[in-house]
């Protein structure tokens, strides 16, 4: 279907990319400033708490979103997107509030360390450490460690899947579910995906940006082929928790997301794929003005609620 009208307007308003690539500092500042401009829809939660917890190398910040009602609640570890190099707890504050309200679970948004200062595997180390820490400390957050999920968008979905693989292989709490919102699932460059060329330019996330993010995140082709980076290539996906993969029709990452859902299914995982017709990468942050995004995100939150009940 064509782009939904709200996104046609949105894309028309994005200024053309500057000829010179901005510095990392500028890029991060732009991402935060752009996010702050997005309208928010009203949802009710009990409130938030900002905490820190011991990461692999340093204290890491996190924000805890608590739903209204009586706990203990389910628990969702959330990892924001941003190409592994940008965005933050703040830029994804609204998304986490909506997930919390819609799922009725405590959501913990984790400020993992960003590339290129901290390249692979450091962000995955942080994600894995966060879920393990939450498994031990869930009760302090009025949550039940037996009802945990991971969730993330884009780069955050990649980290969510990496954390789930490491929990399976290296130990930690058993997950009930994973929500992967337009995941980056193949950074090897070895497979041609039609969506990477069809949607490579003009739809918010560009193929050029993806290449740049890969160059920042990864140190070698060996990294690019690592199962925690490109699960479509190498990973044995057996034994992962039920997984919901969301994709967007006009997204360079559409086809790898869809392929990931298929590969999960083939591995015997209870995997579901929900396509986002008419949508673009980033729709999860656009519920304030894109009704189609509201529907798909509310459905995803309801799916988590069911898995964590």
């Amino acid at each position: 279907m064509p782009l939904v009208p709200e996104l046609q307007t949105f894309l028309a308003q994005i200024p053309p990319a500057p000829t010179e690539r901005p510095s990392m500092e500028q890029l991060r500042a732009q991402a935060i400033a752009g996010s702050a401009l997005l309208p928010r829809r009203a949802v009710e939660i009990a409130g938030t708490l900002d905490i820190t917890f011991p990461g692999p190398a340093s204290e890491l910040a996190a924000r805890v979103y608590t739903p209204t009602g009586t706990g203990p609640f389910g628990l969702i570890a959330f990892f924001h997107g941003g190409g592994f190099v940008a965005y933050s707890i703040e830029t994804h504050d609204q998304l986490c509030r909506e997930l919390c309200a819609g799922s009725g679970a405590v959501v913990v948004s984790v400020e993992y360390r960003l590339a290129p200062e901290f390249r692979f595997p450091h962000p995955t180390d942080d994600a894995y450490a966060a879920v393990k820490w939450l498994g031990v400390h869930a009760a302090e957050l009025n949550a039940d460690p037996a009802r945990m999920a991971v969730a993330g968008d884009s780069a955050g979905a990649s980290l969510s899947l990496a954390a789930a693989l490491r929990l399976r292989d290296e130990g930690g709490p058993k997950l009930r579910a994973g929500l992967l919102i337009y995941p980056a699932a193949d950074m090897s460059g070895q497979t041609e995906y039609r969506s990477r060329s069809e949607n490579g330019d003009g739809y918010f996330l560009t193929q050029a940006s993806m290449q740049f993010f890969g160059a920042m995140y990864l140190s070698s082709q060996e990294d690019a082929l690592h199962p925690h980076v490109s699960p479509l290539h190498a990973a044995d996906l057996r034994g992962l928790p039920p997984t919901l993969v969301l994709t967007a029709e006009y997204d360079p990452l559409r086809d790898e997301g869809q392929a990931l859902a298929g590969k999960l299914w083939d591995a015997g995982v209870e995997a579901e794929h929900r396509p986002g017709p008419g949508l673009i990468h980033g729709f999860a942050n656009m519920t304030g003005f894109v009704p189609a995004a509201v529907q798909i995100m509310d459905d995803a939150a309801a799916w988590l609620k069911q898995k964590l009940s």
């Binding site: 009710e44 009990a46 938030t48 009602g69």
Partner: protein, 315 residues
């Protein structure tokens, strides 16, 4: 001194009424509303009141603004009702806010923060904090205050659980470096939720309206774990530093489990160099702030509190 005779008569009437147990929270809340509706009101004169909504990051709160019938004061009291963090609302404390507004000439903004156990510590406090910040930003619009006067002076206040919340908001405002508060009016506040064995808890455990057992049950509803009680935002008396806080007026009642909570907080504020005045309520009980129409001593203490507020916020 003995119970004020009017208070004694009030307690006798209460004893004759059926009371819902706290374990049945729906019935308990209904009972609290019903008994508030049956209390006689003074209904002192004000210019008017209007309901409004306060958006916070977490929800939208109902609030009620009371406008005084006198010109010349530009102060605003953000008020948090009592009810054990778990009951009561804007209506149960409507007469109290009306009278405070009328006597002080100060605008009163009564805030319906969300109740426990649906929303537990620290989130009801977050509601109060966000409402206070919102009031500071919007004080000028909360008209019809006199034009041409400077920015509004802002105070926080509350009774019982609301006094606890108001004291905690004052602590948070100091920690956050604003908004600037000119006064805190604490009416029989709970100030140390980790300690429910003070002499006043023992001496007034039953027979005076609020029981020590009910107070312990309210605390359990409000907090997630006993450890929460050690946080200064739950127990302001435990704050390591009570200096640099806005001037406080603390009202207590002689026959109240929370009497010592209030008295100790006044002492601790003074010891830390903060300005604090303690107005004891001999012969009075918890809830006296809502008994002004039937208890002369209650009316006198509440009017003294209103005059203190006028002094702090007037001009």
């Amino acid at each position: 001194m003995p119970l004020e005779p009017e208070i004694a008569a009030h307690l006798q009437r209460l004893a004759a009424l059926p009371a819902a147990p706290l374990s049945d929270l729906v019935a308990y809340r209904e009972g609290a509303s019903r008994s508030a509706r049956t209390l006689p009101r003074r209904d002192l004169l004000i210019a008017g009141k209007r309901d409004l909504q306060i958006p916070t990051p977490d929800t939208v709160l109902d609030a009620r603004l009371y406008l005084p019938d006198v010109a010349g004061t530009n102060g605003l009291l953000v008020y948090f009702h009592g009810g054990g963090w778990a009951a009561s609302d804007l209506d149960t404390h409507d007469a109290l806010c009306t009278d405070l507004c009328s006597v002080s000439g100060v605008r009163v903004l009564s805030v319906a923060y969300r109740l426990a156990p649906e929303v537990k510590f620290p989130f009801p406090l977050d509601d109060c904090w966000h409402a206070t910040c919102w009031a500071a930003e919007h004080a000028a619009e909360l008209g019809p205050g006199p034009s041409g006067t400077g920015p509004s002076r802002l105070a926080v206040g509350g009774d019982s659980a609301g006094g606890n919340l108001a004291a905690a908001v004052a602590l948070r405002a100091r920690e956050a470096g604003g908004p600037e508060l000119s006064a805190q009016l604490l009416i029989y506040p709970a100030t140390e939720l980790s300690r429910t064995d003070t002499p006043s808890y023992s001496a007034n455990a039953v027979g005076y309206g609020l029981t020590s057992g009910a107070m312990r049950a309210f605390i359990a509803l409000y907090l997630n774990t006993p450890t929460d009680a050690l946080h200064p935002h739950a127990s302001p008396l435990l704050a390591p530093d009570l200096g640099g806080l806005p001037p406080a007026l603390i009202l207590t009642a002689e026959f109240d489990p929370l009497r010592d909570d209030g008295a100790l907080y006044a002492q601790a504020l003074q010891a830390a160099g903060s300005e604090a005045t303690h107005l004891p309520g001999p012969g009075l009980i918890h809830t006296f702030a809502r008994l002004a129409a039937i208890s002369p001593a209650s009316a006198a203490n509440m009017d003294a509190a209103a005059m203190w507020l006028k002094e702090r916020l007037g001009g």
